[in-house]
Symmetry: C2
Subunit: 413 residues, 2 copies
Amino acid sequence: MKIDIHAVEALDRDDPLAGFKSRFDLPEGVTYLDGNSLGAALHASYAEIEKAAKREWGQDLIRSWNKAGWFALPLTLGDRVGRLIGAAPGQTAVTDHTSANVYKALHAALGLNTGRHVIVAEGGSFPTDLYMAEGVIATRPGTVMRLEGVDAPRIEDLIDETVAVVLVNHVNYKTGALRDMEALTRQAHAAGALVVWDLCHSAGALPVELDRCNVDFAVGCTYKYLNGGPGAPAFIYVAKRHQEKASQPLSGWWGHARPFGFERSYDGGAGILRFLSGTQPILSLRALSAALDLWDEVDMTAIRSKSIALTDLFIKLVEARCGAHGLKLVGPRDGTVRGSQVSFEHEGAYEIMQALIERGVIGDFRAPATIRFGFTPLYTSFTDVWNAVDVLHDVMETGAWRDSRHAVRSAVT
Amino acid sequence: MKIDIHAVEALDRDDPLAGFKSRFDLPEGVTYLDGNSLGAALHASYAEIEKAAKREWGQDLIRSWNKAGWFALPLTLGDRVGRLIGAAPGQTAVTDHTSANVYKALHAALGLNTGRHVIVAEGGSFPTDLYMAEGVIATRPGTVMRLEGVDAPRIEDLIDETVAVVLVNHVNYKTGALRDMEALTRQAHAAGALVVWDLCHSAGALPVELDRCNVDFAVGCTYKYLNGGPGAPAFIYVAKRHQEKASQPLSGWWGHARPFGFERSYDGGAGILRFLSGTQPILSLRALSAALDLWDEVDMTAIRSKSIALTDLFIKLVEARCGAHGLKLVGPRDGTVRGSQVSFEHEGAYEIMQALIERGVIGDFRAPATIRFGFTPLYTSFTDVWNAVDVLHDVMETGAWRDSRHAVRSAVT
């Protein structure tokens, strides 16, 4: 079947999520396919930040810790994120950054699984997970790491009776490959290992079922698909069955059972509370809060359907219209094992992305030779996909990307 | 000399810092003496947050990491905080919360001072410092803590050749007592120990001279005297001489020498960079940025003179006008060894503070029996001091505070 602009416009007319786009403040003349790096801004987030700043900070000052619910935010926002990742209430907190939460989760898992000293992870992981694992190992002499892609081709082959914890990304940040959470968790448990899932590239991108998959720990960020704002605090999930016995060394005042008792010794609070640490950035949390107001209305099944349709369409159009120019699909062709992003390899990847950005199509570049595009069903339309490929086609056909060779290299996760 | 309202008004007329007050958005009818817990909002911070949200996040999206300098913020803001705490550039970063920074600093100090296993701290420390030290000890078996007030009356008596690091508050959060940074640091160094100073209650309250005092590490928050906004990220200082050899286990991507190289192994960046960890909350950092624009204009010597004058006046007026009601000064009577806060003990402390707050005078309560008042020279006037004591006098004389007995107990640091 030939796809043309009319067929694409028909997809938009039939899109049950199309109404959400107007809730976002998207720049004119831009096709934004980088919501998997920094999600777009909601109009409601602006209003929420202004209220938090002018009314709550400015006028109510210290009283807002109680009156405006500031103190409750990590857990109230946590439960709302929890709904999107298949976590019943009381297991998710929004706090700190993903890196710190990886550190807490690994320490907690190693503490629960005493006598084992192996962390299994992926050589192709988003690097900070590995860096934090190194930090954990530095404080737990004798602990070692085994890496997929280094010690064995598949992570499944690294899991045996010596493994304490498997740290794994649900969706690979570079290829978009989606892991089978249920199967891998089952395998780890069968070997007596615990699992920490990194959901940075799946939370808000597709349905996640932490409770159903019997996951032990999960972490993830809120500034990508969840649209929490630049650097908005991350989340951590700890399964209820582990909470009583779990501990983590970033044992700050906010995780204390009686934070206002000003006691001399630490006594970790009940449940997920003990995974909090220090004082959280309220203004940034409030931007996220407004985004979660929107997410409260969203059905993740609809998100997934549209995500697969968007990414399938993108691959099909790129291969049909730009196939002659050496762009090679990276990651799954089968939508059911793909996150909400698509990557292509090309020797001129960096220059191609520069040329696209100059023409208002924003994706990103990942070293050494990958261009990456994120598709966010809340505000990406099928027409956006068409337009992006149109520009890519033009850049490749005319060879215009070669003019971007001298652009300064820079990128951000 | 009798002090009356006319004398107090004259002090305001002669105050060289008086002009700063209008830069703050202070609520009508409130005398705010809790800037040592949450600093007041600047009008400029509202504008800065709005710009960061609407223009940078909303319109420029991912490009703002470079274009708007987001990525540079921890170090650019760090150097500006550095000026206020006597730190030459390149030694201070604004990042994470104080609790996490205590954790990093203690680990780094213990790592530099190998073979020693004792942490000396204060039993009367703000508790999170002790809780984080417990977390460090949990990951470094064999490390022990000695506490002032438990193992000896004075911290000076706990420092010997077995001590790796002294963790100490510059100004006590409850009493306002100010430590002699130079002398204590010298004593610690003479015994071969390193020092971590917690500046939460001194940064922005008085001149701090980290470099001159040869301090090793320091941490502190930015949402009190520095007016960075609720939960704004904290800072960490690492003396240049230690940076090359120091390491800390929260080794996240932002502290990597090549954060966009997406390398598999951690390689800590040069200088203070390796004390960064994960992604920071940009909107909260930008509120702080606006406050630092004001601080760039401020001379800390003028801050200190006014601070001592404000606190001296407050003590004098309380004792003169409310002396019959059993309020007992806690902490130093000598202004030169006092931070910018004053506390009184009273068996009805909680109820007295409730009564004051109901009447628009906001200080805070610290368990079990302390009322605490912070004096922030940028926006507290001498007339504010007069008014606060006037209300306190009324509450005590009439016994009105007894009516607040049934108020719900709550407080926040």
